[in-house]
Each structure stands twice: as C-alpha cells, then as structure tokens.
C-alpha cells in the first residue's frame, strides 16, 4: 500500500465500502502515514462542517415570501 492507493480509496474507506482485507491494509497505512491520516481526518471534518445543522438557516424573509407565494398561487388554483 502506498499513499496514492490509500488516497484513491479514502472515500470508500470513509463510507465503509471496502472488503475487510483492503480496509485493514488502509488502516495499517493510516496508522503509520501522517500525511494520509491528515487527509482522512480533514476529509471527515469537511463533511461534518457541511452537515452542521446550525448553518444555512432559512432566513425569515425568505420563508415569509415562500408562504406568501404559495398562498397566492394555491388558493387561486381550482382543484
């Protein structure tokens, strides 16, 4: 296992989408290679940042305009 191969599998490794043998080989590499370990770690951190539920709130004015637009359109649509 070299760094290039480890990096190429890093995404599948994160997803647990590897057979046991390859998973083990990468684990061994990550334990001794600081570079790849940092890539793995910061990739996971990247995903965590985007998943932070406190970010990207729906602004109140955007929400009000949505409901206003829906009410206008929907209440005038015969069904």
């Amino acid at each position: 296992m070299n760094c290039r191969k480890a990096i190429n599998e890093i995404s599948n490794y994160l997803d647990g989408d590897l057979d046991a043998e390859l998973r083990e080989t990468i684990q061994v590499h990550l334990d001794k290679c600081h570079h790849c370990h940092a890539v793995f770690d910061t990739t996971r951190k990247t995903i965590e940042l985007y998943c932070d539920g406190k970010l990207f709130e729906l602004p109140t004015d955007v929400r009000l305009r949505l409901h206003e637009a829906l009410r206008r359109k929907l209440c005038s649509t015969p069904r």
Binding site: I10, L55, E57, L58, L70
Partner: protein, 200 residues
C-alpha cells in the same frame, strides 16, 4: 399531558399527503413547514447562491402542489420533493450557462488523478473560531467551485444522507459515476478548506 394525542402528535406524512391531495391547503402547508429548511439548504448547495436558492425553494413547492395528483403514495413525499428541487436547481444552472452551452459536468473534471496538496492537520474546531456568516461564506465558495453534478452528488450523499444507489437513480448516473464524483468532490472541498483551516 392533558392535551389529546391529536393535538400533540405530529400527523403522519401519508395522512398529510392524502389530505393535501384532496385539496386541503393547510395539510400541504404543514408539509412545506416540515421540509422548507432542508429544501432551501439543498438549493443553496446546488446553485451556490441565495437568490437562486429562494427560486428553487418556491418553484419546487409550487410544482409539488401542482403535481400532487401524480404523486405515488408508495414512495416518500420527502424523497419526491427532493427530486423536484434537485431538478429545479440543475435547471437553474443550465439556464445560467445556456449562453455558453456548457454541459453540467466539465469533462476535464472527470480526468486525471486527484492528489491532495495540503497535508496539514487543521486547527481544532474551526466552526467555533469563525462567525457563522463567515464560515457559511467559506463553505459556499468552496462548493460553488465544483462542477454542478459534483455539488449535487456531495449534497445528496453527505449532507442529505441518501445512499449511493438512491443518488444514482435520482441523477441518472451509474453507481460508479456517483462514487467517482463523490470522491472528487470530497477531496476538492477538503483541499479548499485546508488552505483556510490548516494549522500554521
């Protein structure tokens, strides 16, 4: 608790959908309340800007209401509205790019190896060291630098938590294509964010 269960328990999604289908606006409004935040966030990640995200939000729910009679109740309403919103988002990008006739995937992005350049650890908890608006702006800028299907795959898989198969089905891509795009999207976002968050 003294209130009746009807007053406290949120209604089942399928009940709301059935009522909305029958023309009950309040039921539809309840569905909108449940998912508006997520759909706005989806719009932001696919289009990369607030104005388009607002359009995606409005158009997705308007379309959902118009097409409710076609909704098959053996599927989840949420998955259905996500699919509509993804299409609206990608359509926005196509319109924006139509003058240039650019495909949604830039071919050069599918080729070549993605090797990281930044190998540094990050400062711990960058999210606690920046104002929220600043962090949001950094994250959005990185996403906007990705080709549209990369952004969409990243959002659906990593933020929305869809499976590889669901994402492939929704975007008409093969499972292998989803995995390849997700890999590239993750590494490119990581690379961009590393320049800002690296310890140093």
């Amino acid at each position: 608790m003294s209130e009746s269960p009807e007053a406290t328990l949120p209604k089942d999604e399928s009940v709301l959908v059935a009522e909305a289908k029958a023309g009950n606006y309040a039921a539809f409004d309840e569905l909108v309340n449940r998912y508006e935040k997520k759909i706005y966030r989806l719009g932001l990640h696919i289009t990369g800007n607030q104005e388009d995200a607002e359009d995606v939000l409005q158009e997705a729910f308007l379309k959902a209401f118009q097409h409710l009679p076609d909704f098959r109740e053996d599927s989840r309403f949420y998955t259905w509205i996500v699919r509509i919103a993804v299409n609206e988002g990608l359509m926005k990008l196509r319109k924006r790019r139509s003058s240039k006739e650019v495909a949604l995937d830039d071919p050069e992005d599918d080729e070549g190896e993605v090797m990281p350049r930044e190998f540094a650890d990050w400062n711990p908890n960058p999210e606690q060291q920046l104002a929220r608006a600043e962090l949001e702006s950094i994250l959005m800028k990185a996403v906007a630098g990705l080709p549209p299907t990369f952004r969409t795959v990243f959002y659906l898989r990593d933020v929305e938590g869809l499976s590889t198969e669901e994402t492939a089905e929704m975007l008409n891509l093969s499972v292998g294509a989803v995995k390849a795009r997700l890999f590239r999207a993750r590494l490119r976002l990581r690379e961009d964010l590393s320049r800002i968050f690296k310890r140093g």
